[in-house]
């Protein structure tokens, strides 16, 4: 249980906003407004997951770049653009999977 239960944190506030949008406001609108409201709720849910993904993202990125021996993604892009031997292509292809998995979860599309 949170020790400051009486003060909703950012996560609780976002949850409350999404709940309000979906359960109270969405049933009252139609057409384009309904479409936009659903998009807004979906965007807030991405934000909510994004706010808690930072640690995992840093860990996965760190492990991937260490494995590939590059400092960051900019260096990796430059290396790929310069042309890759087949082995290196396969290694990079395999290494990039976990990064994409993290971002898919943030997006709420882990089932893809």
């Amino acid at each position: 249980m949170p020790s400051h239960a009486a003060v909703p944190d950012h996560n609780e506030l976002l949850t409350a906003v999404v709940e309000t949008l979906r359960t109270e406001l969405l049933p009252q609108v139609s057409g384009r407004s309904r479409y936009l409201l659903k998009a807004c709720a979906a965007a807030l849910e991405v934000v909510q997951r994004d706010l808690t993904a930072g640690t995992e993202r840093r860990q996965v990125d760190g492990a991937v770049f260490a494995e590939l021996g590059v400092p960051d993604e900019r260096a990796l892009v430059a290396e790929i653009r310069a042309g890759l031997a087949p082995d290196r292509f396969a290694a990079i292809l395999a290494a990039l999977g976990p990064r994409t998995e993290v971002e898919l979860r943030v997006l709420g599309r882990a089932d893809r």
């Binding site: 993604e73 890759l84 292509f89 994409t100 898919l104 893809r112």
Partner: protein, 300 residues
Amino acid sequence: MNETALTAALGEPVTGLERLTGGSSREVWALEAAGRRLILLADPPGERRGGGATFEASVIRAARSAGVAAPEVIAVVPGGLVLQRLDGETVPRRILDGLTTGTAGPRLARQCGDALGRLHTVDPGAVAALPDEDRLVEYRATLDRLDPDRPVLELAYGWLLERRPPRRRTTLTHGDFRLGNFVVDGDGLVGVLDWESAHRGDPLEDLGWIAVRSWRFRGPGVVGGFGDVQDFLDGYRASAGVDVSDADFAWAVVLGTWIWAVGCLQQADRHLSGTTRSIDLALVGRRVVEVEHDLLGLLR
């Protein structure tokens, strides 16, 4: 756009003008005139993709003359294009949910192949001001401009460049031939919509696009979520008189998927740059990750 201006432009009393949901690149309006249900595709002010309404009208006419089902052109009006409104479903998930018999999906796949094959027999010279476009080149330039530091997109580009099949034909291409731009009823394909991206190019661009995973809308079929590749290519072969090899088709699907990934970034850029502020565009930009995930799966 208002009813008075449209009445003047069409020479018929216009009623029931109403903006429809959807159309992230431009506004789509429903209207009625002289007892006919029509659609207005409005160019957003200050932003015009492709060659505008006159160009799109000439593409649609050329396609229809080759037997491709598409809405009849009613008129080019200031700031937009008025078309016949086709009866049927356009919302992808509703189309997929409506294909309840075992033969409906394969039939739609064959019809789509047939329509695309017909389109690819049109003489590109028959359409005035048809731009010549090689999407691998165009989207490479877009990626360079956006410079997003996305290794997956570079990996896929290198793969595409290395394995690109020799250009076998150059045709009129639709440029956005996929579920979402099809009108479908109980008998299958009623019409193909959204011709603004048409160009003269490699027909493989159109062939792979319909099978991009994002355009399957969670349906099981590789082609549009509703059909398999064989049915689609059978329909295509029958009308185009051309065989498409499995290797060429597979390359085309990777091309389409990469193009859509760059397209997601491009849509995000329209939002971020302030050209068109839109929650839709922002969310599409964020979804580039899904498409990168698809690319990794295709390249493995």
